[in-house]
Amino acid sequence: MSHPASVQAVHAAQTVHSLWTSVAAEAPRKIPGPHIEYAQLSPTLIVLGAAVLGVLVEAFLPRRARHISQVVLAVVGLAASFAAVVALAADGYATDKAHIAAMGALAVDGPALFLQGVIILVSLVAVFTFAERRLDPAAHGRPVDSFVAEGAAVPGGDAERRAVKAGLTTTEVFPVLLFAVAGMLVFPAANDLLTLFVALEVFSLPLYVLCGLARRQRLLSQEAAVKYFLLGAFSSAFLLFGIALLYGYAGTVTYAGIAEVVGGTTPTVDPALASTMGNDVLLLTGGAMVLMGLLFKVGAVPFHMWTPDVYQGAPTPVTGFMAAATKVAAFGALLRLLYVVLPGMRWDWRPVMWGVAIVTMLIGAVVAVTQTDVKRLLAYSSIAHAGFILAGVIAVTPDGVSSVLFYLAAYSFVTLGAFAVVTLVRDAGGEATHLSKWAGLGRRSPLVAAVFAVFLLAFAGIPLTSGFAGKFAVFKAAAQGGAAPLVVVGVLASAIAAFFYIRVIVLMFFSEPKAEGPTVAVPSPLTSTAIAIGVAVTVVLGVAPQYFLDLAGQAGTFVR
């Protein structure tokens, strides 16, 4: 009996052995690790690293040391990241060495580097306004900034009172800002739809949080944050569903892959998708939904409704950052999507985008006419500007890309500067944003009023400001790209827009100051620097735009 058993045991051992040996024979099969070009992704990685360090600072440094360390960390991180961008561009990654990195997830090319550079610089300036601590009167002897003492405390409750008394400040805003910046850096470089979606969420979630952190008028701020979150989630759902439909259509989520299918060269058909692949209804519906998700972020009509409420409720430095940097990132992603993925179906999306651009320009300009709050006014102005930029996007020419790049660079600094000025004009209740309070500001504080006038003139597109150069470039590209009627509408909308910009100037300089008008706070060098940079960029890009136009022109080619 033992024999068979022993035979069996031997047999089993042999089987095991053969299994081992056969596995050993088939090996060495390794799981392939993804190939990541770390150096080329360094701008994003540096910012992410700085953000993580910022979280550690919050955890380990004593409260007193946090503010200064966070500011230094953010500034150094962003500066290093900008240096990395410049190094990459100098190395030729913007032009002839442009390619797709990280296994097809991210593009390293001219538009991506240009927009990343702009986003980083804008964020750097935004950090200055975030760090400003001289505008609000000190609470219990401690300097405070625009942000709430303790975000989780109920407005007006005991917890809040204790937090204020204890002199707490929300220094977490800096790492949160850096996370948002990291997402924004990925967004215009994203080369597949999933990366696009992840990047969108990475920069949106921190923004929702930042919006709810205002020190004054906390309920308004929290309402803004909730609205932004709800509507943002709603639009993300559309985006995600659009991505799903596009995957169903193309069997892939990479831009190049989808573009190939759109172009008619279908590679191998995935059997699971055989019934849907190449179905144009999926392509059109999915494309429209993805577009909608991006149009929400740029604030185009009819997906703009969140903009005024959120701009008004968010702490003003956050509004400035959001208005400037988000727009740059979102337009970058939109450009890449339309120029790389969907050029083959431009006859489908162009008429639709025409309509969106026209209503965006007109509604933004018209509704701004009756606004009475500076921040809401600037919000509608940003909607109108989104329309102007869309006109350049629609051009579908290399000039269109470069003009949009230039416009974004010019516009973001003007916006940031304008919102920085808004933080300076204050009365007992904090920032005095009602326009009636700005009457006669030019008599009381000629310098501040003059600086704001420069920004307004740039918004209006008056020559010798960056606004004129940008608008001219965009309209020229649009006209050459066959969208002349769009330019006519754009010019009409600009005329309407000029009215409300100039009206503020008239109000500031030609009205009698009110007796109990607001005062202009004297800022620390931080905000002053931010405003000075804004003015300098506005004037330089207005007086001598050619160098920067050339730069944008060189960076105007997408890698496919």
């Binding site: 909730v226 609205k227 709800l230 509507l231 709603f234 639009s235 559309f238 144009d280 209804v281 059109l284 519906t285 494309g287 429209a288 939904m289 577009l291 909608m292 929400f296 009509v301 009819p302 997906f303 409704m305 969140w306 005024p308 409420d309 006859w347 489908d348 999306w349 008429p351 639709v352 309509g355 969106v356 509604i363 018209v366 509704v367 701004a368 006419v369 009756t370 606004q371 309407i496 009215f499």
Partner: protein, 639 residues
């Protein structure tokens, strides 16, 4: 050599800059600085002239491009100079007579409060005028043209504390603007026709443009010339411009500004040669103006205004000659030069008389001055003989040739033009004799002047005429020498004709009347004119207050109703036009603008209500938007 041409313009321009910006330190030395720089430019001119004489006929022109001024695409404007015999003539006249007038002004303006500024303006004027005649393209010429207009405005209104002077300056400026528009449009038409506005290519290719284009350009150039040269119908500013200091009158009305129109037409000869209609317009303007100015000159009692009428008339002669084409160009310029001498001399003489007579200008209050101011009398007298064309003096040679050329035009036209020129000569003799007799002969009709405080002193303020200082008499003597000999020198061996012919071209006319007969006729009308004047003002006493006079006299005193005409037609018409435009602006334009604004505002108010603050409404709007977006995209494909 070429570099000196730029220097020619730069020196007086530098003077203007230094004097106008130099501040009080230059108050005392200013007049001499200005005069010195004018003299320097004259010396430069003479140097260039000597150099030019050293070269042969066709090689005499010098061209130099200093820098590219406005290079925009196909549009190219350079700052470049062209110095040929024509511009050389002007350079010598402008700097020579200009320097003498500077020198004279040192004495004349000695008691003024702001001599530094005055000399700064004079230098500016010289620089602009030199730029005008030296430019090698029409655009740069236009720059000089405008510069002259500016400088003349500043100089005519130099005593701007007098309302009359300020008004006169404004009037001169406005009337000149009309002419300037003509010139600027002419330059634009030129650019569209030839693609350039440099003299050389434009004039070389003039015959390739159609006659219609050439006529249009010619008429527009004529309009410009009328403005600067005070020709009918843009003549009205000249008489009022006498409000400026007398040296200004001499500089503007004798040597420089008013001759710019003649220069322009002569320079553009190729254009006019190809446009007979434009030429007819030119001779018509010239003939009408020479009679117009002469008649006005007869009736004026103000010595400077009488001379102003005379200037208008003499420029009329030049324009007439220039309109005759190659027959007349050379004589137009020759008369221009001789006129530069004697008219400058006459104006400076008039200034000298006024200087001695407490700034009195009414000739009826002069009389018997010849023994009190001998130098002024003799120099003025020689200028007088020259202008009426007394045989052997400058005016005789040049004017005689113009009358001859007018007859040579041929046909009825020739007879009409010749007759007008002859009649003009008769009237010239009349009014100049009148001026001479009223001023220097007869009994003294001096009146006490009203002092500044407004009280007429009994006799304490009676003028004490005296000879002027040396700085004033020396220029007068030099100009008198020119008035006597210039014409004769030019005519020896047809020297001037040969000098200028390579530039302007020349053709001998075929006069139906012999040269001798023309000269004889001129002499006869000259004697008649002078005799009538002597009959009226020499033999019978002259009343101090002017008699009422005939209808024509009264009209001539009012400048032949030119201002009334301008007032009724242009001012009233303009007022009506502007009023109706304002009405249209208020009702129609403002209505549309305000209506648009109101409707935008209303729309805005209604649309902002959509922004109701509820996230749910926003979400609905987004959903609807997405639905529309998808539907539209699908629809596009379906279509």
């Amino acid at each position: 050599m070429e570099n000196l041409i730029g220097l020619l313009v730069l020196v007086p321009l530098l003077g203007a800059g230094v004097l106008l910006c130099g501040g009080r330190r230059l108050d005392r030395s200013g007049p001499w600085v200005g005069t010195g720089l004018a003299a320097v430019s004259f010396v430069l001119g003479v140097w260039l002239f000597a150099d030019m004489l050293g070269r042969k006929g066709d090689n005499r022109a010098l061209d130099v491009t200093v820098f590219s001024w406005v290079p925009v695409g196909g549009f190219r404007a350079d700052v470049g100079f062209h110095l040929d015999q024509l511009s050389m003539t002007f350079v010598l006249l402008i700097t020579g007579v200009g320097s003498l007038i500077h020198l004279y002004s040192v004495g004349y303006m000695a008691h003024d409060e702001r001599p530094r500024r005055f000399f700064g303006y004079l230098n500016l004027f010289l620089a602009a005028m030199l730029l005008l005649v030296l430019a090698d393209n029409y655009l740069l010429l236009y720059a000089g043209w405008e510069g002259v207009g500016l400088a003349s405005y500043l100089l005519i209104g130099f005593w701007q504390h007098k309302p009359s002077a300020a008004t006169a300056a404004k009037k001169a400026f406005l009337v000149n603007r009309v002419g300037d528009m003509g010139l600027s449009i002419a330059i634009m038409v030129m650019f569209t026709t030839f693609g350039t506005f440099s003299f050389a290519p434009v004039l070389a290719h003039a015959d390739q443009a159609g006659e219609g284009k050439l006529t249009a350009i010619g008429l527009l150039l004529l309009l410009g010339a009328c403005g600067k040269s005070a020709q009918v119908p843009l003549q009205s500013w000249l008489g009022d411009a006498m409000e400026g200091p007398t040296p200004v009158s001499a500089l503007i009305h004798a040597a420089t500004m008013v001759t710019a129109g003649v220069y322009l037409i002569t320079r553009s000869s190729a254009i006019f040669n190809g446009a007979p209609d434009a030429q007819t317009a030119v001779v018509t303007v010239g003939a009408v103006t020479l009679l117009f100015g002469a008649i006005v000159g007869c009736a004026k009692d103000d010595i400077k205004k009488a001379l102003a009428g005379s200037t208008m008339s003499q420029i009329g002669y030049m324009i007439l000659a220039a309109g005759l084409g190659p027959v007349g160009y050379v004589f137009a310029i020759m008369h221009l030069v001789t006129h530069g001498f004697f008219k400058a001399g006459l104006f400076l003489g008039a200034g000298s008389v006024m200087h001695g007579m407490n700034d009195e200008v009414d000739m009826r209050r002069y009389g018997g001055l010849r023994s009190y101011m001998p130098v002024t009398f003799w120099t003025f007298g020689l200028g007088y003989l020259a202008i009426i064309g007394f045989p052997g003096l400058s005016g005789f040679f040049s004017k005689d040739k113009i009358i001859e050329a007018a007859f040579a035009k041929g046909g009825t036209e020739g007879w009409i033009l010749g007759a007008a020129a002859l009649l003009g000569a008769a009237i010239t003799a009349y009014y100049m004799t009148r001026v001479m007799l009223l001023t220097f002969f007869g009994e003294k009709r001096w009146q006490p002047t009203v002092s500044d405080s407004g009280s007429a002193a009994e006799d304490g303020n009676l003028p004490h005429p005296h000879e002027s200082p040396k700085t004033m008499t020396i220029p007068m003597i030099l100009l008198a020498v020119g008035s006597v000999f210039a014409g004769g020198l030019f005519s020896i061996n047809s020297a001037f004709l040969k000098w200028l012919e390579p530039v302007t071209g020349h053709a001998e006319g075929h006069s139906p009347v012999g040269a001798g007969q023309v000269t004889a006729a001129t002499m006869v009308v000259l004697v008649i004119g002078a005799a009538v004047a002597w009959q009226q003002y020499g033999r019978s006493p002259v009343p101090v207050t002017a008699p009422r006079g005939t209808l024509l006299t009264r009209a001539a005193r009012r400048d032949l109703l030119q201002d009334d005409f301008n007032h009724v037609v242009l001012v009233r018409g303009g007022e009506h036009l502007t009023r109706s435009l304002v009405y249209v602006d208020h009702k129609l334009v403002d209505g549309v603008v305000n209506g648009t604004a109101a409707s935008v505002g209303g729309l805005s108010g209604r649309m902002r209500r959509l922004q109701n603050g509820f996230a749910r409404s926003y979400a609905v709007s987004m959903f609807g938007g997405a639905a529309v977006l998808i539907a539209a995209t699908l629809l596009m494909r379906a279509v």
